[in-house]
């Protein structure tokens, strides 16, 4: 059942008031009760973000964190219609507003992204898994990856270091985040640039390890030696054990 224009208008005004605190005439609303709605909505937003970003909150401290959340609440018009996705909008908000500069935490966008990715991978929509067979440690088998994974690239070691060590260790970091099929636990693995690209290449479509390595060799202008092939097989065996690679097609 669709809403009448009048209802939509009232809802929009109430939402606007809840976010900004600027009062407009809202039909049927009692002035002495209205502020409770704002408080309730803010508490839901803050509760979700507090739980989504405990590390950022810890690093920033209660006051700075509250300021960020309140700024986000007031200035950002959330578009996601599922509450659990709201943290991704905070990531976008910080990125878009360069919020990190105003508080001197250059790694804040990456830290928030790192924390959000856990939620994202955890909440990934279930998909039908293809039938697979056991990996036979063969370069010419088409590998099938776990569909519930993300690979992120960071400049700051937000997944490895404390805040005080972050800026001194600026560099290149690669992180695999994946959801175990049975336990539904989200797991993390620190990758090298090479393994990040390899998994990313394999994840695009089922392809053989030899194919993926050759593709990478060409793109990167490097020779894929026998030793690299052997190490790649060992790596895939480990990934099978971890549930990152499901098997072969």
């Amino acid at each position: 059942m669709s809403l009448t224009n009048e209802t939509k208008d009232i809802q929009s005004k109430l939402a606007e008031y809840a976010r900004t605190g600027s009062k407009k005439e809202i039909e049927g609303a009692r002035d002495d009760r209205l502020h409770h709605y704002r408080r309730l909505v803010y508490n839901v937003v803050k509760g979700v973000l507090d739980q989504g970003f405990p590390i950022a909150k810890e690093i920033m401290g209660e006051e700075r964190w509250d300021d960020l959340v309140f700024d986000f609440f007031k200035r950002h018009k959330c578009q996601e219609n599922e509450v659990w996705k709201m943290p991704s909008e905070l990531v976008e908000f910080v990125d878009k507003t360069n919020y990190q500069e105003s508080i001197g935490l250059p790694y804040l966008p990456e830290l928030l992204l790192f924390e959000w990715l856990e939620i994202q991978v955890h909440g990934m929509q279930d998909v039908a898994l293809p039938n697979t067979q056991e990996f036979g440690s063969d370069l010419d088998e088409a590998l099938v990856l776990n569909p519930y994974l993300e690979i992120a690239q960071f400049q700051y070691p937000v997944h490895l270091r404390s805040a005080s060590e972050m800026e001194a260790n600026k560099g290149h970091y690669y992180l695999l985040i994946y959801r175990e099929l049975d336990s539904h636990l989200v797991k993390f693995m620190n990758l090298t640039g090479f393994t990040a690209i390899l998994l990313d290449t394999l994840g695009q479509s089922p392809k053989t390890l030899r194919h993926a390595l050759n593709e990478m060799g060409q793109s990167l202008g490097m020779e894929i030696t026998h030793e690299i092939e052997q190490k790649a097989i060992e790596f895939i065996e480990k990934m099978v054990e971890k549930g990152v690679v499901l098997g072969v097609k």
């Binding site: 408080r39 979700v48 939620i119």
Partner: protein, 148 residues
């Protein structure tokens, strides 16, 4: 969100991954390390950061001991609340009713958030932020004193 930070294609990745990272021997190319589950990694990072945060910000708040703050200022019990955050699993049922099987995951990240289930009468600070009128509904003892 910066799209280049989440690898979506090899072409993108090759263009953004440090070339220098491949000037290594074969073994180094494949060096990976398990960081554990979300809960394990989060607790580890929270513990690391807990000790280092004081050096980042000149935050006199952390030096206060329980009892030094005034009731209603939100200091007393603050420590407890932070630790509780560290232990709390972060996600779990964000989807309001969806995927109930995931709720059983041990390191699930959230508690179920439903629309309208805010912390009615909760944090004083929150109330202050969300309501400029500083409503007088919060009495001493209703706020953070003593933790959540």
């Amino acid at each position: 969100m910066k799209k280049q930070q989440v690898l979506k294609s090899a072409a993108l990745a090759v263009g953004t991954v440090a070339v220098g990272s491949f000037n290594a021997n074969a073994a180094n190319l494949f060096e990976t390390s398990d960081l554990g589950s979300g809960a394990e990694l989060r607790n580890e990072l929270l513990a690391k950061n807990h000790s280092s945060v004081n050096t980042l910000f000149n935050n006199s708040e952390v030096e206060l001991k329980c009892g030094e703050g005034k009731c209603g200022e939100g200091k007393c019990g603050g420590e407890k609340s932070k630790k509780a955050d560290a232990k709390d699993s972060k996600s779990s049922e964000h989807k309001c009713g969806e995927k109930s099987k995931k709720a059983s995951a041990k390191d699930s990240k959230s508690s179920e958030h439903k629309c309208g289930e805010g912390k009615c009468g909760g944090d004083k600070k929150d109330a202050k932020k969300s309501d400029e009128s500083k409503s007088s509904e919060h009495k001493c003892g209703e706020g953070k004193c003593g933790g959540h």
